[in-house]
Structures are given as C-alpha cells and as structure tokens.
Symmetry: C2
Subunit: 250 residues, 2 copies
DNA sequence: GAAACCCATTCGGCATCGTCGAATGGTTCT
DNA sequence: AGAACCATTCGACGATGCCGAATGGGTTTC
C-alpha cells in the first residue's frame, strides 16, 4: 500500500462525504498535518480531480472524477445488457428498475430506468446503498459468501427502524435468498420504499451484479408477475453474459 | 506535485483511454517499471478505484470512480439549476440539451436532457468533448481568456474535416462569440451534428458553464427562436446563480 | 508432453521523495 | 487597528516508495 496514494484517495473520500471543505478541515478529519494534505491536494487539483472555489479557499471534487465515472460505465458489459432488459422490466412491472454492482459493503447503481409513467425522476446512477439494506445487495451477497465475511463488526449500519442490523439475521435471510434467487427489501434503506431483486451471473458463474425494481412500500406486495419479471430479466442478462445456468449456486 | 499521486492519476488516465489493460501494458505506456506500477495499482484496487478481471490479470476502472462522479454532480449548484431550465429549453427548441463545464481543454457534460420526441437516447453525462470543437466549449472560452492561452501548441486536435485547428482562427471566432454571447458549431466534433450554446455566469461573474442544444447538421440553420431560447436559458440559470448581469464581459 | 517463454507478483536495499514543523503572508473578525 | 486564523511555502530529516532481481504460475510452442 503506497502511503501517499492511499492518503490521496482518502482525501477524495472525505470530500465525497462533505461536499466542500477547507484545507484544515480535510487535514483534521484525516489527522494529518495541513502541509502534507496541501501537497496531495495540489496534485489532485493539477489533474482536475479536485477544484477549489473561486474564493480560493475551499476544495471540492472536480470534473475529472465525472469523466472517469462515465468511462467506467462504458467498460461494463453488464451495463449495456442491463439497458436493454431494464426497459422491458420497467414496462412489465410498471416500476422503476435499478441495476447495481457490489463494492465492499455497498451497492453502486450502474443503471436506472425510470418508472414508465412518464413522470420526472432523478437519475440514480452512481448512488450507493449499503448492501445489507437493499434487495440488490442481498441478491448479490447471497451468492458471494466470501463478501459476507467482510461485513465488519457485529452490528450493521442502521438506516431505518427496519434495517437488519444483526449479521446473524442477515445470514439467515441470505440463505433464503440463495434458495429462491430472489431478494426483497421493505423500508430497510429508505422509509416508504421497497424492492425486489435477482442476481446476475457472468460467464464464469460469478455473481457480478443484480437487477431489481423499486416500488412504494404502500404497494407491497406487488403482483406475482413482477417477481417473475425480475427473475426473467436477471436470467436473460446472465445468459447474454455467457452464464452457464441460472441461478449459479454459490 | 507528489510523484506517486501523480502517477496514480496517470494510471487512471491510461485505464480511461484503454478500457482494459494488463500490468505490463500500463507500465510500458507510462514508461515505468512494472513493479512500481504494481504497487500503485494495488493501492487503487484496495479502494475500489480499479478492479481486476476474474481471470486475475487485466485491470480496469472500478465502481468507486462512479460513486465519486455522482457526488461531484450533487455538489454542483450549476447542475441543479440546469436540470430545471433544460427541460424548458428542450421543449421550446425541440432538440436535445447539454450543459457542460470546462476542464483544461475539454468540456465535460454535467447534464443531458434528451430530445422531447420520446425516442430512446443514450445518456451523455460524463462524456468529454474538446473545447475548441464544441459550441459549449467556445461559449466558455470566449469568456475565459486565460484558459485560451493554455490551449497548447500551434495546432489544435482535429476531430473532423470541419474542426478549427488553427488557434488564430479560433481566437477570431471567440471574439465574435464574446460579442453575441452565443457560440455555434457545425460538424466540428462529430459529423452530422451541430450545436448552439451560451455561457453561464456565477455570482462573481465568472463563466462557470455553458448550456446549449444539439441538432442534426441537416437541420441547420435552426429556427430563430432556438437561438433566443438558448440565450434565455443561460441568462435564467446565471440569474439564479446570482450573476450580476448577462453576459458578463470577459 | 516437456520445455521455454511471458507475465504478474514479491522482496529488499538504496536513495529519493514525501513528510512535517516552522515561517510567511494574506484575510477576516473583534 | 490589532489579533487570530488559515492557506501556502520552504527546507532538512529520514521514512518511504522505487526499482532490479528473483519467484512462481500459466500458456504457448515444438
């Protein structure tokens, strides 16, 4: 682990959490001398990874990170497949569709298909949700046992009163998810929101993502056909990625 | 400039240009020993900035960069304003709308409003276009003279046969753009595509972005009302950002 | 089927490069 | 007007990253 690179990424992480920070604020959060942080910050700035406000004092993320993010999406074969099938899934279910991948203990949304009712909705690509509190995350974790072990501590982060905070309870639920290859979530991440998701496998049989629908908690349970539609979308994408079967047992 | 941080970002840049590379490929492109690159790559990997393929050999960008990109968008006040007015501009003009910011010699798209005809269009957020070959870029450069000086060399990068490659010609055109606060582009970046754009100013009177429409080159010239609509969108967003007037002379 | 090659990764010593304390200069608050 | 704060610069020390060489796994070649 190269120290200065590690620190640089930690600086980006701090700026990610708090949109706009002064040098000394960044330094104190990382418990590093301001001059050390300054050197790294200037290097990041020279590449457009961070920019400083016009009043020349506070720092924030820069346009270069957006460029990187877009290229990441383009390299993902999963995403291009998801785009096609999300449309059908949204139409069949009448709900918004999300596709996500796992990073450490979080799910990052790589595609978002708005509800087909034509209403205006915020694009959600790039947002992250704790894996243990989302249907997408549970669908992935159920088929990635070694990732589950990495969930640190004996208490998971609570988002709402419904969030599963006990790792043992989560594990039990994941065992159920693995059987059906279908995960659900009811107000565990966001109050008023529920979801269904199924895992997507690649050619080597690894769970590389998950696709699912998001619906108002008030509409629970959704029509039986929605469950089927989610599973079929996941199966179809997996097939296009070359998966030998669906689901692929963990 | 911290050497290892600089190298880390350069590695990300290389992976950005070529989606998937082996360690030795990255090393040779940067003219660095493989072992040096390896250490940095492993640090980036530990943070999810890069991931390696399942066959454990090639590297590519990771989900963490997408997360960063999304947070960057959220921190931009310009973006939230642009969302509102883009919708109106798309409706009035009948064309797709783009909003962008300048990084060095490129424009990064921070918002994209699809053509209002309901057809399916790829989201373009995060794509980059050489500033000198786009209406958005020209609208920005015309009000940022010091940025123009940074355009390196005596020959600008050519994208199509119409691209302005002579800096002198570009400067002359930018002088015109500055007068009208309206820039145009015809097949200079992409064959078959033309655009109109106007600059957006913030509270301190600095050009922080540009908004414009994209249309098929065959539809040139667009209706006079489209020119007006672009200028009004730029003026409205600038006002919301606290700009003292519009345009703000460079 | 064996051998040779290529490539990712690991290791350790040397010197470089990053780190940090202190000094500077500018800006804001009292 | 003074004081306090903060971003930034500078320089010396030494910890740290750099790189050449060694290792080992995997794939191609003959």
């Amino acid at each position: 682990m190269i120290q200065s690179v590690d620190r640089a990424i930690r600086i980006l992480g701090v700026l990610q959490g708090a949109r706009r920070l002064s040098l000394s604020e960044v330094a104190s959060r990382l418990e590093l001398p301001p001059s050390t942080v300054h050197g790294i910050l200037k290097t990041l700035q020279a590449h457009g990874m961070v920019v400083q406000d016009r009043d020349s004092t506070r720092y924030q993320l820069g346009p270069a990170v957006l460029k990187l993010g877009n290229v990441y999406l383009d390299t993902l074969e999963l995403r291009s497949r998801a785009v096609t099938w999300s449309e059908e899934l949204a139409r069949r279910s009448g709900h918004a569709v999300r596709t996500g991948v796992l990073t450490f203990d979080e799910v990052v949304i790589i595609h978002h298909e708005p509800r087909p009712d034509g209403s205006r909705q915020m694009p959600e690509v790039g947002i992250v949700i704790p894996a243990h509190a989302s249907a997408l995350g549970k669908a992935l974790l159920a088929f990635l046992p070694e990732q589950v072990d990495e969930l640190t501590g004996d208490k998971l982060r609570s988002m709402t009163s419904e969030t599963l905070v006990d790792p043992a309870v989560l594990r039990a639920q994941l065992a159920e998810v693995a059987k059906e290859a279908l995960a659900t979530e009811r107000e565990e991440a966001v109050l008023g929101e529920a979801g269904i998701a199924a895992p997507i496998f690649d050619a080597s049989g690894v769970a590389v993502g998950a696709i699912g629908i998001v619906l108002p908690a008030a509409d629970w349970p959704p029509a039986e056909s929605s469950f089927t539609a989610v599973r079929e979308a996941a199966r179809n994408i997996s097939r296009e990625l070359g998966a030998p079967r669906w689901p692929v047992p963990a």
